[in-house]
Subunit: 129 residues, 4 copies
């Protein structure tokens, strides 16, 4: 398994960077169901970060159903993870595209979010009708 990389400096939290990289590998299939992830301690040492940060990443991924942890054994890519991860990655791409457009149009975050909520509401009422 090739390396991950994290950039320190303030910006995206480290744990989110790692989480995103793992999600992408699962979505791409380079991490397949059943594959073991590096142990918490190993990955922590590799990335020169605190083990607790890795624990947090793995915990989030487990909540998302992308990995399963087997106590005393390790952390493994979950069955059906690829489909879920693909959805996650797709969502991120759509959201990024939307944010790009919104920023170009001069919206701030609050306005962009409000527009999504409005569109959601419209969609809902359209479906009901």
């Amino acid at each position: 398994m090739s390396e991950f990389d994290v950039s320190r400096q303030r910006g995206l939290p480290v744990y989110l960077q790692i989480q995103a990289q793992i999600e992408r590998r699962i979505a791409a299939g380079s991490l397949a169901p059943g594959d073991p992830l590096p142990s918490v301690r190993t990955l922590a040492k590799q990335l020169r970060i605190n083990p607790n940060t890795v624990v947090r990443v793995y915990r989030e991924l487990e909540f998302l159903g992308l990995v399963e942890t087997r106590h005393g054994e390790g952390t493994f890519v979950a069955a059906g993870a690829q489909r879920r991860a693909k959805a996650t990655v797709l969502v991120e791409e759509h959201a990024a595209a939307y944010v790009t457009a919104a920023k170009e149009l001069g919206l701030d975050q609050g306005e962009a979010v409000a527009a999504v909520k409005a569109a959601w509401r419209k969609r809902d009422t359209a479906e009901v009708a």
Copy 2:
């Protein structure tokens, strides 16, 4: 100026329907800067709705900088309104596209909004870097 139409029954609030139609006409240029909008009473009668509803629409449009009300004269399309209205309409379209994608991927509103916030944050940190 041709007619507007509103559908009662559960769905989008009437005032939002009217507002959206006016925004679109301004964006399209069929309502140009300086053009008068119907008076509150006239439009209310035409659409058979409460005048207060029209007042609300005009107030929202004024807040958005799309119209200006001149006391004793009436309500007029504001200078530079077309550019702003186009942006508004574009944002709505982008938001609608995003919502469509998010719904297809099975997200609920909270998740969709969270994804936008996350993407926004990512964009911010990327720009800083």
Copy 3:
């Protein structure tokens, strides 16, 4: 807001004890949507535990949609939390009842889980038919 209590000694992790108590109060309605939870630092001091442990609890509750955290403001019971919390508590009660029965019948955890999976499968196939 009256006190929570946690028992140290090994057993249920502290964070799960606190989480369960908050869930129950939300389910019971004594913590209503919009109500603030104690600040992380306050609750930590009250329970004489580390603030990070409280952070963890609040994070889990947010994931479950029971609370929402507003950065710089505090943590609040989320809208619709009562319904969700009631479901959680109900599930816990059903699960506890099942576990009681299974233990009385001499099953170990693996067997009890297997029986649930089998019943689930049966239910699924019955619904399809």
Copy 4:
């Protein structure tokens, strides 16, 4: 001994259907300790299924201690089988009840299983205390 019945088509595997029916008869006492079960070949012909399927059923039942096979003689209901079968049937009923409740509350299988494990753990720690 009256007939068994199996429904083909997608649904529960045939061998589980037969196994469950035998378990229930043992639990009900209509198959008592010492009673012979139909020979593998006889039952297979009667149900128009493959003898290997019947072999599998009898093997499972033997593993559960409900029947014993005596080489050259046949398969017989084991001593003490009724008590054990009752437990099995009871477990199935409890599990089914739990699954019903969990589904109504909108859980998926993973969540339902997790709740059982959590409840099990709680019970364990409660007993220790």
